[in-house]
Each structure stands twice: as C-alpha cells, then as structure tokens.
C-alpha cells in the first residue's frame, strides 16, 4: 500500500492493491458489474508491479489487474477512441500510421502531447539497413527496435547499434518487426497483442539469431513474456529465451563493463555526475538493476550517485500517462525531487517510457539535467573502437 505510487497520490483504499483485488473478487462473485467507477479504478494502475514485489504472499497483483482489464475489453465491444488511435499509430507501416505520425509533427498544441518530443521526419527503420555484418564473426544478434525508439528516438537505436558493433556482434534489424504489443496487452486486447507478437517472432527467428537485443525495458520484459502469452508453445519459448535487455546483454554476454574500464578517459573531458532511475520493467519484472549500475560505474570519469528510492515508478505507465495525465505528473514530481537532490548532471535510464516521462519532467521544471538512455551514455563515453 505504501509502495503503490498511485495510492501515495490518491490515498484511497480503492487505489491500493488490496482494494483493487477486492473489487476484482466482488466482480467475479457478481457483486458488482462493469461500472464506470470500477473501470476507472482499474485503469488508474500503472501496472508497475511495486505491490507484487512487496507482497510477502507472492501474489502477482498486477497480473490479476491485467487479467481484469482483459475481461473488460472482451466484454465491451466498442473501443474507446484513444485506444483506437493508439492502435493505428503503433501498427506502423500503414497509411493511417503515417498520417498520425505527420499529425503529431504538425499539431504540437494538441492537448499535453505538446510536451512530447517531436518525431523526426524519418524513422529509425527508414535509415537503417537490415543487416550489419561484422567480419570477426561474433555473436549473431537481432535488434528489436520498439515503437518509441523507431518513431521518436532513432539516435538511441543508432547508439545501440554502435555499441553492439563495438562488441563484435553481427547485427540484424529484421524488417517485419513492429510494436511489441504491450500497450494492447495492457489495455486488455489479447487478440491484437498475440498477432503482433507472432509477427515479431517470425521476423526475428527467420534470421536464426543467437540473441534478440532490446533497448527498451518495457519491450524486453514483455518479449520475455511471450512464452506466457502463448502458453507452452515451443516457438514462443525459444524466442523468449533469446531475449536480452541491452544492459543485461552488455554486462553479462559481452562483459562490456570490463571493456569500458579499459577505455582511457579523454584528457579534455570533465567528470560527470550521473544518477540512475530503475525502470519498473527492468528492476521489478526482470530483476535487472546491478547490471546497468556496473556498466555506468565502469565508465572512466563518471561520478555515480544513487538517488533516494531509485526504483520508485516515474509515473509514466504507458497509456496511463495519457489517460491520467495529472496523476502521472503528480507521481513524477517525487521522482524529480529525488533527482534534483543528487545534483546529478545526467540521469540515465533504460526504458523509453521512463525516458519520455523524465524528459517531460526536466523540461517542465526548466532543469539543466540531461536525460540519457544507457546506450547513449555508453556510446558517448566508449571512445573510438579499440
């Protein structure tokens, strides 16, 4: 309860894990129906998993809330407009998706979207070839780009490619991949989620890669969950077992921290004070939190400081941010206070949702702090290929 970021803002039992579970139970028992209030309460959950993490009884609360949302979507035939637009946008490569993308570029005044970064003219996929060979014949990896890197942050995709190359990997960026499907899964649209997952698995497995590398924590945790989505399906099992988050892959498979330690500190550079925000999808879902820290601390000239409660949710929560904008910013406020307290010049994270949210926080507070994806930081400091 005191772990739930939403409860801490709203201080009502209906916003706690226990409250939500009682309502789901009441619904199953037929005591309440799909009322507006019930749906509203379920929608006001970040699915951050802080409650499940804290539960000594090991109840996976966020999965139950997730299940209830699926129920709702199944029962209600008409999809809200917002969800429909999101779906069309994320489908990519379609005419409507292009249209929406352009719309986003032009109509910067639209609602609070104006605070989001403006998508560049072309996407990451437009500018990247699907195969980047490496003569040394290292590991064969497939890069899963994800929507936000593709549409908003192509430079993060580039940074990831640079590091993988530096690590001696042969890189595939298979066409045919698209949205990981998480927004649909979270909204309870299982059908759409499954068809997107199929598409991604086909695209990656066709290339016979050793690993599927993902630079967004939300995507990586969800790709690892494909095996749950498809039950015991061997293809999904095989796929999920190849998935690695970029920080995990660098730290473990490539032992990249050691490489970073050996890179000389450029004489003209100044030490940089850096702090790190744990994405919920990395720490709580994948238990990855030491790896990114080891990598950051291995970089010469970085003065690493922990912020208070680094794993406290930033409040983005995907579509939660759109649906409950004010609440989302209320949750972000605490994160910003903790970041400011460290006096860090750079805050690093590993999830595109967090990145968007932290950037918005920095912008609206007019701070000088830079928000970087871990791949960007490493790429900037890794120096020339050794």
């Amino acid at each position: 309860m005191s772990d739930c970021p939403v409860y801490l803002e709203e201080t009502q039992e209906s916003m706690t894990a226990r409250g939500r579970l009682s309502l789901v139970e009441a619904y199953i028992q037929g005591k309440i129906c799909l009322t507006h209030r019930f749906k509203h309460i379920l929608s006001k959950c970040l699915l951050c998993g802080a409650c499940s993490d804290a539960c000594v009884a090991g109840v996976s609360v966020h999965e139950i809330i997730q299940w209830a949302r699926t129920e709702i979507t199944r029962k209600q035939k008409i999809r809200p407009l917002k969800q429909l637009l999101l779906q069309k946008f994320l489908e990519q490569d379609t005419f409507i998706s292009q249209l929406l993308r352009q719309g986003l570029r032009i109509n910067r005044q639209l609602h609070h979207l104006s605070k989001m970064p403006c998508p560049p003219k072309t996407t990451f996929m437009d500018n990247t070839s699907s195969f980047i060979p490496e003569s040394q014949g290292g590991l064969r990896v497939g890069y899963f780009v994800g929507c936000i890197a593709n549409h908003f942050f192509p430079h993060i995709g580039q940074a990831t490619i640079h590091i993988l190359k530096d690590g001696g990997c042969t890189i595939y960026v298979p066409r045919g991949q698209g949205c990981c499907g998480l927004p649909f899964f979270n909204a309870g649209d299982l059908g759409k989620a499954c068809s997107l997952a199929m598409r991604n698995m086909d695209a990656m497995l066709k290339q016979d890669v050793d690993y599927v590398i993902v630079s967004c924590a939300a995507c990586s945790s969800y790709l690892k969950d494909y095996k749950k989505l498809f039950g015991s399906d061997p293809k999904a099992q095989a796929f999920s077992s190849k998935v690695r988050d970029i920080s995990e892959f660098l730290a473990n498979e490539l032992s990249y921290a050691r490489r970073l330690k050996d890179k000389p500190f450029p004489a003209e550079a100044q030490t940089l004070r850096v702090t790190y925000h744990d994405p919920c999808h990395l720490k709580k879902r994948q238990k990855i939190f030491e790896e990114p820290r080891n990598l950051i601390q291995a970089i010469q000239g970085i003065d690493f400081v922990e912020m208070n409660a680094p794993d406290r949710c930033c409040g983005h929560g995907g579509s939660f941010h759109l649906e409950h904008y004010k609440l989302s910013l209320g949750i972000l406020k605490h994160k910003m206070d903790d970041i400011k307290e460290t006096g860090a010049q750079v805050v690093v994270t590993g999830c595109m949702g967090c990145l968007l949210q932290l950037k918005e926080g920095v912008n609206s507070e007019g701070l000088n702090t830079k928000v970087l994806h871990i791949a960007q930081l490493i790429d900037q400091y890794k120096g020339e290929p050794s």
Binding site: Q12, S22, T35, R37
Partner: protein, 460 residues
Amino acid sequence: MEINKKSIKKLSSIVGKNFVKVDLEDRICYSYDATNLSYLPDAVVFPRTTQEIAEIIKLANKEKFYVIPRGAGTGMSGGSLPVKGGIVLAMSRFNRILKIDTENLIAVVEPGVVTGVFQKEVERLGLFYPPDPASLNFCTLGGNLAECAGGARAVKYGVTKDYVLGLEAVLGTGDILHTGVETMKGVVGYDLTKLLVGSEGTLGIITKITLRLLPLPEAKQTLLAIFDKLEDATHTVTNIIRSKIIPTTLEYMDKTAVFCVENYLNIGLPTDAEALLLIEVDGEKESVQTKGEKIRIMCLETGARDVEIAKNVEESERLWQARRSVSPAAFKLKPHKVSEDIVVPRTKLPQMIDKIKEIGERYGLTVLTFGHAGDGNIHVNFMIDQQNKDEVSRTHRAVEDLFRATLDLGGTLSGEHGIGITKAPYLSMEIGPIGIDIMKRIKQVFDPNNILNPGKIFVE
C-alpha cells in the same frame, strides 16, 4: 440508522464533494480489515482538518449516524469495521509529519502517517521510534495508538503507549480535546492521553499526536537459534530473560510456522526443527557483540542444535523476512485462520505452549503459533476452513479453553491486537463487572450518543 441524502449533502459541503464516496465500489474497499470480515459502510468520508471532523461529528449527533475512524485497515480484531453501518472516516489525508524536534527528541505527527514511513524519517536524523508492528509498511500511527500496537522490539522498548506524550482528539460530542504534554514528564490531572491510547476509536478521533523519540542505537546483531525440542526453545527464552540481558527482540516460531514459511519462501529454513528463535540485540558496537555471543552460548547450553549469526544486513533481512511471512504463509495450510494474541508472564511460557498443543489436539485443530516470546505474547492461530461448520464450532470452544488457560496462568487476552468485535464476547472473562461498568460510563462521558465506532469492545 441508515444515513439520509441530506446528511450526505452536508458532509460534501464540509469536506468537499470529491471526499465523500457513496459508490458501491468505494464502500466495498472500506468494508474490511485484516480479519477477513466485511461490513458495508453507507459512505466513506476523507476529512483533512480537525475542524472538519468536529463538524462531521456534530452532524452525526444531530442526524444520528455512526462514525467509524479508520487508519489503514490492518487491524486484527475488526476495530475499523462498520458493523452497524454509518460512515467510515478514512484518516489517510492526515498524512503529514508536522515536526521532528531533534533537540527535545519529540515529534508531532498526524494520525494517518504510515508507521514505517515515520520510522525511516526519524532514522534519517539519527533518531529512533521503536514500536514496530509487523504491519509497519501499511499501518498508521493513529491505528497504532488506537490499538496500542506492539511489535517485536517491545521486549526491550515497550509498546506504543510508552511513546505517546500527548494528543489532540475530537470526542463523540464534537468537542476538541488537547491532552498530555510536549515534555518528558507531566502529571497534571488524570492521564487522558493514556486513556485514549488503546480506546479503539470508541472515545474520540485522534487528530494529532506528540511522540517521544530515542537516539538510534549504533549497531545490532541478529541470531537464529534452531531447536529440536520445543521445550528447549521456551526454556531458552526464560533463561535469557532471567540472565538480565534484555534483547531487542526475542521471536519464536513453531514447527508448523517454520514449515509454512519455508514452503513458501524457500530460503533454507530447517523444516525438521521443532522451533526457531529469532533474537536481536542492539546498542553500542562492542556491547552488541558481547551480548550476541553470550546469547549464542546460552542457546547452545539449553539445547539449540545450531545458532546462526547474520553476517550483514542482507542476511539479517532474510531472517526477518521469514518471521514476517508467517501470517501470509499460514494460509497455505487452510483458507482461514482464527488468530489470538494472548500474553502470559514470561516464566509461564513453557506451560502455556504445552497447553496450546493440548487444546489443539483436544479439538482436532491445526494450530500454528509464533510471536513475541520475549514478552510472553504468543500469536495462536487456529487454521480452519470456514465452510466446515463443525470445525468452526470446535474452534469456538478451543478459543474459550485457550482464554481460560491464559487467565489461569495470570495472563491477558490480548497483548496488542485489541478487542474490537472478535474478542468482545470474551471481555467479561478478564474484566470484572465493576471494571466493565466503569468503562461503559467513561464511554458515556466521551460519547453520550454512542456515535463513535459502535459494537466494539463491549457486546451490546
């Protein structure tokens, strides 16, 4: 006494429309606590100021509806349940720490502050608020006061009432009472502060609390002693107390508890052991080590198979996790539990434990015991399935036998969970007619129209 539309309107004008909830969904969320019982309130109200509460209570007196204060709803005796309907007064917006005075070692807080949050805040300043109910990550200081909550550290540091210096409360009349002091001592008039502590929301709504703080001990050490014989463990407890080393905590888990926890956490607890003692000592660095060593030797002398000393914070956290998981882990045995928190004089612990075993056998019930052995406070859990009517009736009889045995040994029915509704039928076993009569008259004075938390403590 169902609440009328007019009253709901008035409540909205007092606290604001957003802070009065009448939807079924919200009422369901305020219908339960940790007892697994549930009663729907007519509405939930979220006040922000003492003045608002005073107005609400006055309205309640006029319009005749009940008011049930609620902290976090972690109570184990049904204290916050609206058994007769009425409004639940959710204190969650009273969540500010108003002052931490590092010179005078006191703090002033609002009652909705979560105990664990408060502890972390004072510890950051090198201070210490000892009462640590196992629910500290959720429960509120207001709820702690109303139940006089204890915790594992009570062996050395006492319970909530030992740290309350003064408070502000809105009485059942709507009057605002200020009691107590902001000093270390004070004997001006009757001690109304202590009277409100443990009053379970039946005398007044606590709106502000002045607490005493201690300096944070420099170091601590955690030990886990494993016993092959139950009586060896209980004798070790009495030995340690007799030796005049007062540990910070002296917790006990029986075989069933160990089995449940291990099944559930897989952290390598010895499931073949008959009992475990979890012991912590604190103080200055050197003294902690000597005390720890003395206790280790004492455990081994009285029959411990092995004594494990936590080498670092993580290890100690693992041991504590085991202890804190007993309650939830227990549900793997049976879907429901009836838990009692009796206390006996510490020397009577071995006898009491034997008695509990015997009662369980007599009624054919699965019993799981654990708790604060160091102060004689044992949590006795009868694990049952409430669908099984026969089992339920056997449990009733077992509880009565348990209470009888407790009182025979000079003990008391509840150490820290309070009477609420679950123990109300047994109150007269411990408190004589004169005691009950005086209590009821006190209730009359504080709350003449019986507005506050009806149906609690006394059977009506």
